[in-house]
Structures are given as C-alpha cells and as structure tokens.
Symmetry: C2
Subunit: 339 residues, 2 copies
DNA sequence: GGTCACACGGCAATCGTTTGCCATTTCTTG
DNA sequence: CAAGAAATGGCAAACGATTGCCGTGTGACC
C-alpha cells in the first residue's frame, strides 16, 4: 500500500491560478493579499485538503512552531499536571509540544537538549537535573524556560525565565498548621541531595520553624519513591518525631505504609505531611495532608514564557496546603488554643 | 541576546576540506566514503559541535525520525505506562516521540492526526476515540498503529497494526477468582458506551461467566472517573451485588470511597475488582484487586510495529490479575472448596 | 599492458515553504 | 491632472540537508 502524495503549496497555486508565494501569503500574512484573492485561495486549499508541511516551513522561516518539554520521569504523576498544562498552552497557541523523558539523568537531559533543541522553538525543562553549567550552556544555544529551578543570571547574561512554586509561603503554611496542632518539632525526610526543590523545601521549613520557635531536623537523603518509605519512616520513629514532613508525596505514602505496617497510628501517634498533592494523595490511607502546587498552571506558564520572549522573569505560582487526615494534634496534648 | 548561528553541514565540509555531500555520506552512509576521510570528517564535526538539522533532513529524505503518540488524556496514570514504553522504544531506535492529548474527543483526535501526521513518520493512537471511518481515513494517509483498539481490515485494504491487551484471558482470570471465592454472580459497572476496551471487557466477562455458570449483569454507563464512583456504587448496592467489577481502576477507587462512606465493608460485604492496575491501585484502601495490563510493553510494541513496516499483525499482550485486599469470600458463605 | 570494475568524492537538483525585491496597477493628494 | 504612495502579485533566492549521476583514480585480472 502506498500512501497518496501530499498536496503541496504549488498544487494549490496551480489550481488557484496564482503563484505559490501568493498562496503562502494568503495563509500566513492575510493582510498582504487582496481579500477576494485570499478567499479564492482558501477555498481551493480547503477543497484540495492542503496542509502546509511543517518541516519545509521550519526550513525557510526558522520557526518550527514546536516546543519541547523535558521531565525527569513521564510516569511520575507529579509531572502529569505540568505536562497537561504545557500541552494545553501550546495547543491554545497553535503550537506542537514534544515530550522528553530525561530518566532522572543529567546526561540524558543534556543529550535530549542537544537532539531536540534544533527541532524546536524553545525548551521547557521541568525539575532540571543538570548542573548550572549544563543549563547555562543550553540557555546559550536555545530558548529556555525552567520549572521549579532557577539559574542565577550572571552579569551580562540575563537569567533564564523560570516558574517556581511558592515554597516560602507553602512551608510556612505547613509549619503554621503543625504548630496550631500543638507540635513543637518536626522532622524533614529529605529527598536526593541534588534536588533543587528539595533544598528549597528544607530551607523554607527551617525558616518557618525558626520564626515559629519550633525545632526542625533533617534526616536522609532518602529515595523519593514508595521504596524509600521504610527506611525513612524507621529513621523518623527512631528520632521520636511527632510530625514528619516528607520530601514528596511518593515518599510520604511509602512512609504511611511503613507506619501502618509497624502498627503506628497516623495521625494519632504521628502526623505526616507531603509535598505535591500528587494523584493518589487524596485516596491513600489515611488521606494525605500535603502542599499542593498548581503544576498545571506552572506548565502552562512556562510555555507562555517561551511564547512571549523578552520576559526573563521568574514567575511564582502559589501553593496551597491541603489538610486531610494524616495530620492531627501532637500525641498526649490537646491542640493549642488561641490565646 | 542573540543565539549563536548553528553550524551547518557546509561549515563542516569547509573546515574538513570536502564537499557537503561527502559529509552527509560520512554521517549517514558510512560504507560510502573512505574510512580515513570519514574519520577526519567525524573529528571535525565533533570539534565544531555539528548536529544535523532534523527539518532539513526531513525535507530531502522524507523521513522525520519522529513518531507521534496520541492518548485521550495525558494526566491519566493509565496511559503513563504506554507513554513511557513508547518513549523508551523510540529513544532506543534513535527516534523522537511527540505526544498529543486528544482530550477524550474524536474531533481533537482528528485534528491532531491532521496536524501531526505530516510531521512524523507514523502515529500511534492509544485507546482511539474516533470512529472506524476516522481511523481508516487516518490509516490511508499515514502510517498508523493502534493500542487497545482494532480496525477490521476490509478486503483490499490491509488491517491496521495494533496491540491489544488479552482481555479474554484476563476476564477469565477475574471470573475464576470470584468463583473460587464463592461468588455466584457479578455486576459490571460499565464505562462510556464508545469505549472499545469497555466493550471487550464486558464481552469477556459475559463469556467467562457463562462458561463458569455464574450470572453477569451490566449497569451503567458511568463516568470512568473518581466522580463516577458514587452513582455506580449505589446502583451496585441496589442490585444486591456481592461482586462488583468496574470498568477501570479510577471508577473502582471511586466506588471504594463511596462504599466506605456508606459504611459498606470491602471485601467483607462486597468484593470489588478493577481494570488497569493503575498507579495508586496498590495503595488505596483497601488495596484494589485488579487486572494488570502491561501498558509499558504495549506502548513499546506499538512503536516497534511502526518501525518495522509490513507487519500488519495484531499483537496481544498478556494480562495478569493482581489479587489484593478488595476481594474476598461471598458474604454469608465459606469459600467454595474443591470437590 | 590493456581493460574492466569498483571505490570514492564532487556537482547539482531537489524537497516545500518563506520572504526580499521588483513591477505593475490603483489610489491619494495637492 | 500629475506625482508620489500604497496595494498587490510574481520571481527567484534562500533554508540545510539528501541523493542520483558523473568523473577520476586505483587495483585486479587476464
């Protein structure tokens, strides 16, 4: 079976009795041709089922109308929101989105940037795993936007536009919530050392804890996966934690399962908080109190940054604490009353 | 800030003191040039950081080295596996994967096929929502492979290669499991009417139930989402079901929550089975008994079908029942003993 | 040593579109 | 009504690769 030859701009031009250039302009520079001519061309193009070849278009114009989104792990539900948002924003602008999975690896990330870069108008890298140098190099060669990562703009080189979750507010919300439940300390179960957002989360927690006069300790790093749960949970118990804040929901759910397995009641014996409000956080047992990021907005926003050049801004998207069933009063104490 | 001009094949040719055509051949037809020349060209290309422009390549050769994968909803964890698998298979073959979200809509699907089709070497449509006619039209214009959908090949036109889960075996596993627990009937909570896999699931259940001499009833259709749960669960209770089989895990989890809300114990009062073994199925409460599809294999397999033309086969990927905590003996009865 | 085949490299056409430039026509405006 | 401006359409040159074809040089074989 051979596929039918595609109809080209020349076919349309012939059928309409005009030059190819006129067809091109009728389609992409409406003001440049006579309205009647344009009408006619559009009619013919429609009848012939003409669709411009994106590659040819990219060749001469240099623009591909395509953007790439790189995420560390496509299967991770956390990124699904960003993907969806980016997809939506791209589609709304008539652009195509290419997705890349960096497999949590800086080198795969580099390779993908190199391979996809030339074929797209810009790249969004979510939760970039590469070094600042990697990113700077990428930024020098391509249009770039980052999600949940910033790149310090050195003098002379403008910073890379990025969109980050408001962890400062978010961690304060977490600490306030725990304090109001009577907790006087918290344990943070850290994720991988390289994680930029992990660092921000811990920094925010520390600052908020300090401000509220409670103690914050960090344990780990642990795998930010269900599998990381047992080790992390055991460490937290050994540290006599009353409130556990986990690097992310995945780890938090792993912790929850381990605690259940060890007969530790949540939230009666210990409270657990996550980050991300990942798919599943509301139907695990007990439903997880977690800091929701508007990942869909973040993804859409990143694409917008790419679409609108010049704005090297850092956009901060709000976060919101979802209080569910995994947090409760500090054991052996009534919740603090307002004074 | 202006981006540095990209290095082209001509730059490499000049620097290496050969013609552009030789560079091209050195890269893509190694046998065609002298080994020493090739060595030299490769060295120069590497030094200059030359990366061939995919668009230009596509223009002259007609091949884009890109494939598209269309799914109804990127955020649905069910499709994450297929995406990952396809991504892996494509990357392994040095191909690029473009992702499209059809938003569960036949018309968006059509539009995406039209827009993406010309820019890729082939399309995978997972859980296609379009009509047979839509798909036949797409197949006439592009290389196509389907996941969990088949297209009856009419005489003269070969069928479209596809990969489908083995629902015949899977539904038999479900029924056998329920029968062994003493259940004498089951209620199927159906998803959308248009769902091809939904139809296959129900057909399989019916056949298996018939063969085992138990009764199978169908209720619905319901939304295949958490939100569909309450209505579906209530209907099942009204029907005095002892075993509920849900269209998919999403609905099953929605049902589970509703049952919990109404004080119905699972699996003591009623057993619940899902389809998909979706992310979260193992940590919801109670952990869900569900039919696992190897979606990652399916996705990879679909890409392979595209890579290897000519094979218009239908590949069947095995399914496997994951028995967890949501199924138990029929209430008021000991599990059937082997006789 | 002559002929033939093959290995190797270059020339130039080609893919489908965009876009700078020019020629013609039509419209303004003083 | 003349002259300049604006509108409109066509020509042709890109864009960056691939590939068919041809010419030359080299080795093999008789």
């Amino acid at each position: 079976m051979t596929l039918p030859k595609r109809v080209t701009i020349t076919d349309v031009a012939e059928a309409a009795g005009v030059a190819a250039s006129t067809v091109s302009r009728a389609l992409s520079t409406p003001g440049r041709v006579n309205a009647a001519t344009r009408e006619h061309i559009l009619e013919v193009a429609g009848r012939l089922g003409y669709v411009p070849n994106p590659n040819a278009r990219a060749m001469s114009s240099g623009r591909t109308h395509t953007y790439a989104l790189l995420v560390p792990d496509i299967t991770n539900p956390y990124f699904a929101g960003a993907i969806k948002g980016a997809e939506r924003a791209a589609a709304a602008a008539g652009k195509t989105l290419v997705l890349g999975d960096t497999q949590e690896s800086p080198s795969v990330e580099r390779e993908l940037v190199q391979r996809l870069g030339p074929a797209v108008d810009g790249l969004v890298i979510a939760a970039a795993r590469g070094t600042d140098e990697d990113l700077a190099a990428a930024a020098g060669r391509h249009r770039l936007a980052l999600v949940n990562r910033t790149l310090p703009g050195v003098p002379g080189v403008p910073g890379v536009p990025s969109v980050v979750a408001d962890y400062d507010s978010g961690t304060r919300q977490i600490v306030d919530h725990l304090v109001s439940l009577g907790h006087e300390s918290l344990v943070f179960l850290a994720g991988p050392h390289e994680s930029w957002s992990g660092a921000r989360r811990w920094a925010g927690l520390q600052a908020a804890a300090d401000a509220s006069g409670i103690e914050a300790r960090r344990l780990g790093p642990y795998q930010p996966t269900l599998q990381g749960g047992p080790a992390a949970a055991d460490a937290a118990l050994a540290a006599k934690a009353t409130a556990i804040v986990c690097h992310n929901d995945m780890l938090a759910i792993g912790v929850l399962r381990r605690l259940a397995g060890r007969g530790v009641r949540v939230p009666d014996d210990v409270s657990v908080v996550g980050f991300d409000d990942m798919f599943g956080a509301d139907f695990c047992q007990p439903a997880l109190t977690t800091l929701a990021e508007r990942t869909e907005d973040a993804g859409a926003c990143a694409i917008d940054l790419l679409l609108r050049p010049g704005t090297a801004a850092t956009v901060v998207v709000p976060t919101q604490l979802k209080v569910r069933d995994s947090t409760g009063p500090r054991p052996g104490r009534r919740p603090a009353r307002r004074r």
